[in-house]
């Protein structure tokens, strides 16, 4: 599933390498508007509805944090 997350991020922002172990928010790879965009794409791709309460920058800062968010929202690993 992590590779799928990387692919989605790469589709949204193809100019960045999301396999790097960076904080995507702090490094400016994702801003608050990209997060809005990402939430919609994750919802569509995994047929879920990410809880609005979970839409905070920390949950989108790394591949692991996005992975954990998806698990929490019912995606099976």
């Amino acid at each position: 599933m992590k590779q799928r997350i990387v692919n989605i991020l790469q589709e949204i922002r193809p100019e960045f390498d999301f396999t790097q172990e960076l904080n995507f928010i702090e490094e400016g790879m994702l801003d608050s508007f990209d997060v809005v965009n990402l939430v919609t794409t994750l919802d569509e791709s995994f047929s879920i509805c990410i809880d609005g309460m979970d839409i905070i920058p920390e949950n989108f800062a790394t591949i692991d944090s996005i992975y954990n968010l998806l698990i929490k929202n019912g995606v099976k690993s």
Binding site: G28, N37, G52
Partner: protein
Amino acid sequence: MDKISNFLEVQDSVKFIKNLKKGFITNFYTEADRIIKWIDNNQFYKVTYGDSVFFVKTEIEFNHLFFCSVSAEELNNSLSKLKEITNNSLLVVDLIGKELDIQSIVNTFKRCGFFLYTKLNRMHRNTIKYEFINDLYIPKNATISQTKVIFDLLQFHFDPIAEQLPSLKEIEDWINKQHLKIIEEDEEILGFVIFDLIGYTSYLRYWFVHPKHRNKKIGSILLNEFFKKSIETKRQIFWVIGTNENAIKRYLHYEFQPENFYDYIMTNKNIHYETKDC
């Protein structure tokens, strides 16, 4: 409406809506440091109705509205109540997202008496080498003493409803960071560019050439200065007014591409953006 005195109050209000665990919708994506500046400037208020909280940032001629609510239906109910206390003031709301995704919230606001003022589109390009322009005009850093002049130029030539104009303090911050470059002649500012660099991303905030000094390549020189300063980043981003065809043509010329990402700006009065060529 209550004046907000610290950032914790903002966080608590958002948390209150989230903790209801009935869902969460919002248009409140502003970065914390910007909100803190509004609070310090005594510009930021809140009001709670049922399961919605509204934040209001006061501007010179209108109020900017942000919401957090549990659902579109609840937002609809709360907006009706908000109308009762804000009927005489001009409210402006930004609804941001992919074209199709934001239509339900846009329609909620329309049902509550809001009108589309204009629509912004986000554009971006990957950072590429800047083109060196050898010309008579050399961009330089603005100085603090020029803050008010730049503020006045922004107020006069840009649209305050559509373009979220900065305060004097915000302009000073850009000057201190050397992110506000100007071209001047005989102590007159002919044009300027304002930008932010955040990690791998650069944001073009305002790009302006005085109408008296158009067609002298000043705009190109300033934009190149932005490209030069953002060479360490990987992408360059900005928002453009969807009806500003001249500006869009110029950006396309520089290889910027429109994204499927829009900002619907709505107001509670039936007024509409008039194209300005900035």
